[in-house]
């Protein structure tokens, strides 16, 4: 039955838009005809700030992109600059980076699934997720003093070596986590109502997903084996045994399952990294950049002035928990980047929402939107 088309505004302040995202919905009765995301409510000009700040000063800004998983953001920018300058990174530092990034992937997926279920009205999962997240956050607190905005990964390594007790605590977490994931699965996987809300909701075909530029678990849920850690291995990912988690269905449930599987894979990676953790320095003293002795109080004042990467440009990408995170950095030889362009996974994945929800109802929009797992800080930059 055709009825009058109705435009409904959803957001920017809405409990289920995960921040300040706004949708213009063109409705036909209960059915969504079209959806227009309106973004920019959290725009902080991060890319422009990149041109104003020195290289090191920009690292803390990357924390604020995807604040749920800040480590990969740190790393993605640092990796771009390292590629630009050809900085050698000690192996121990690379291992530590992998450990913290994979722990962050677990945190991200816990928050993603938790807030998703919260949107569906089941508030238990987020409490469970935050319980485990808390453990990782206290690990991070041991490591760098911060719980969300870490500013931990540095050009040529990481800021600090692992503190005493970190490895034991991480092992404890690794031991506990598989049973917790089994708990989540017991709570959700065969829950009839959960399946009703998930199966065949927010479907996106592999072709559409690729055309739109979707990456990460959202793409892998649509039967595309695309994981940068596998396809274009960076850091020391080649040395670990893990698999890219792919699901065929392409609906919300597939994306949920991908996230659950990825948490398991991340645990495997962290375990292997801890077992093979090499000894040595955690930050390099690379010639040409200026030798410096690591000291927390002096580096922020003294390091940025002398760090002048050579002229050139680089695009470097990593597999952040939400998808492909790319940094395009242009250097003009001064101590500040000429241009920093961020290809953020949340922004690109958000484009898929239209394809996913056309023809569905508003509650399905909420479920499908949460299944993409975006952070508005990452969308608006």
């Amino acid at each position: 039955m055709e009825t009058e088309q109705l435009m409904i505004n959803m957001g920017p302040v809405h409990p289920s838009t995960h921040g300040v995202c706004r949708f213009k919905l063109i409705m036909n009765g209960e059915i969504i005809r079209d959806i227009i995301p309106v973004i920019g409510y959290l725009h902080r000009g991060t890319e422009k700030l990149g041109e104003m700040k020195t290289y090191l000063q920009f690292v803390p800004y990357t924390d604020r992109l995807d604040y749920i998983s800040a480590m990969p953001n740190n790393y993605a920018f640092v990796k771009a600059v390292e590629e630009l300058c050809g900085i050698e990174v000690p192996r121990r530092a690379e291992y530590i980076r992998v450990i913290v990034m994979e722990l962050n992937r677990i945190v991200n997926h816990l928050v993603a699934i938790g807030s998703w279920l919260l949107d569906l009205g089941a508030s238990t999962m987020i409490m469970y997720g935050f319980r485990e997240r808390e453990k990782v956050l206290s690990l991070y607190e041991m490591l760098c003093g911060a719980r969300m905005t870490f500013n931990y990964i540095r050009f040529g390594g990481v800021r600090d070596d692992l503190p005493p007790g970190f490895i034991e605590k991480t092992r404890e977490f690794l031991k506990e986590m598989p049973s917790r994931i089994a708990d989540y699965e017991a709570l959700l996987n065969d829950n009839e109502i959960f399946l009703m809300r998930m199966k065949n909701i927010g479907y996106i075909s592999a072709k559409d997903a690729i055309n739109i530029g979707v990456t990460g678990p959202t793409l892998r849920g649509s039967d595309v084996d695309y994981d940068i850690r596998k396809l274009q291995p960076y850091s020391v990912y080649e040395e670990f045994d893990f698999k890219a988690c792919v699901r065929k269905e392409g609906d919300s449930y597939a994306r949920y399952m991908v996230r659950i599987d990825e948490m398991r894979e991340s645990l495997k990676i962290v375990e292997q990294a801890l077992n093979n953790l090499p000894e040595g320095k955690v930050v390099s003293q690379t010639p040409g950049i200026g030798t410096y002795r690591w000291a927390p109080s002096t580096v922020s004042t003294f390091f940025p002035r002398i760090f002048n990467p050579p002229k050139g440009e680089v695009y470097s990408r990593v597999e952040a928990p939400k998808g492909e995170l790319g940094f395009y950095v242009v250097s003009d030889g001064t101590n500040k980047p000429y241009r920093v362009k961020i290809r953020s996974p949340s922004f690109c994945n958000l484009n898929a929402i239209g394809t996913m929800v056309r023809g569905l109802k508003i509650p399905d929009l909420i479920a499908a939107f949460a299944s993409i797992d975006i952070v508005l800080g990452d969308v608006d930059r």
Partner: protein, 356 residues
């Protein structure tokens, strides 16, 4: 025996009933004593239910919190036991806001239309062999009829608030209550068929040998699901789904009026638990507890069963997500109603064949 008789018995035991009665009868106004006793009964029931409701709000938080690996209220009193009082005081001291464009008269009356039936339902629910306000001959019909008044109050609240979220919530609540009233009544009817009576005490007495839950598991499941939907609790809390409708029909309510909605919600939960206990779980029937008056023992059994049902509802809230509105109505009409009809038909046949 019911509450009235008990109070008369107590007054007789105190040797005040006869003198007062004969004194009043002399002037032909003995009805005053009757009215007074009825008033006392009403106050007792109201106070008991209100206290239970306060306990339930605390229990809900604690159960829900422990399901979620939290503690819930811990500061006020032992394990936060005084939290309901703190909440009540806070809410009663709040400003009573009526929105400028609201229909003031309806806005004020709506909480009471919801609140009063939630308490009226307790009239035919037997808390013990003689702990009943009145054993109505049409007990079940009365319960279904009275609990069907609440949705009107919800609709009135939603309409009077003059807020689109409230109105949507109210319309959803009405649609939901209508859809689930049918399977609810049909499965209750099957119980009536088994018991051969509409009176709640007769139904309980019929379960002396075997509880109806074992005799009619399908009916029990239908009744349980339908009554959770009727209460508007997760997974069927579409009328107040935060992610879609802020707080549904009571979005605009604050202070004391909100308290009445809140109380009504939990009174409803307690009433439903009582009804399920009466219809399916054998009511107050249970082995006599030694050293206790049988009446107290019955009462304890009733409460244990009641709280088991309540605990299930709270547990469920911590476990499942919410269904979609069309799925909710779909389940109601396409699954629950036919199943309830089949259930009724099946037990009709079984009764006719003399199997049960």
């Amino acid at each position: 025996m019911n509450y009235y008789d008990i109070i008369v018995w107590i007054l007789n035991w105190l040797r005040v009933y006869e003198p007062v009665n004969s004194f009043l009868e002399k002037y032909g106004i003995a009805i005053i004593l009757k009215l007074f006793i009825i008033f006392v009964v009403a106050v007792i029931v109201l106070a008991f239910v209100a206290l239970t409701v306060m306990l339930l709000t605390w229990l809900e938080r604690k159960v829900f919190a422990h399901v979620q690996a939290r503690f819930g209220p811990m500061v006020t009193g032992w394990h936060g036991l005084l939290q309901p009082i703190a909440d009540g005081v806070k809410l009663f001291f709040k400003e009573d806001i009526v929105p400028a464009k609201a229909d003031k008269w309806l806005f004020t009356i709506a909480p009471f239309i919801v609140f009063v039936p939630a308490f009226l339902v307790f009239v035919p629910i037997p808390f013990g062999k003689s702990l009943i306000v009145q054993d109505l001959r049409v007990g079940i019909i009365y319960i279904i009829a009275v609990s069907a008044i609440s949705p009107i109050g919800v609709l009135v609240a939603g309409w009077a608030s003059n807020n689109k979220y409230s109105l949507l919530g109210a319309l959803r609540a009405a649609a939901q209550d209508i859809s689930y009233e049918v399977p609810l009544a049909l499965s209750a009817l099957a119980v009536v068929l088994l018991a051969g009576s509409l009176s709640t005490q007769d139904i309980v007495a019929k379960q002396q040998d075997i509880w109806f839950i074992f005799l009619m598991p399908l009916g029990f499941i239908i009744f349980l699901i339908a009554s959770i939907a009727e209460m508007g609790r997760i997974p069927f809390d579409l009328q107040e789904s935060e992610q879609e409708l802020v707080a549904g029909f009571f979005t605009e309510y604050s202070g004391a009026k909100f308290v009445f909605f809140f109380l009504a919600e939990y009174a409803h939960l307690f009433a439903i638990a009582g009804i399920i206990t009466t219809l399916f779980l054998g009511g107050w029937i249970g082995p006599l507890i030694p050293f206790l008056h049988p009446e107290i023992s019955y009462f304890i059994w009733f409460l244990i069963k009641c709280y088991a049902v309540i605990f299930f509802a709270m547990w469920l809230r911590g476990t499942v997500p919410r269904v979609r509105i069309d799925q909710l109505l779909g389940i109601g009409w396409k699954v629950m109603t036919p199943l309830a009809l089949i259930n009724l038909l099946l037990y009709g046949f079984l009764m006719a064949l003399g199997v049960i």
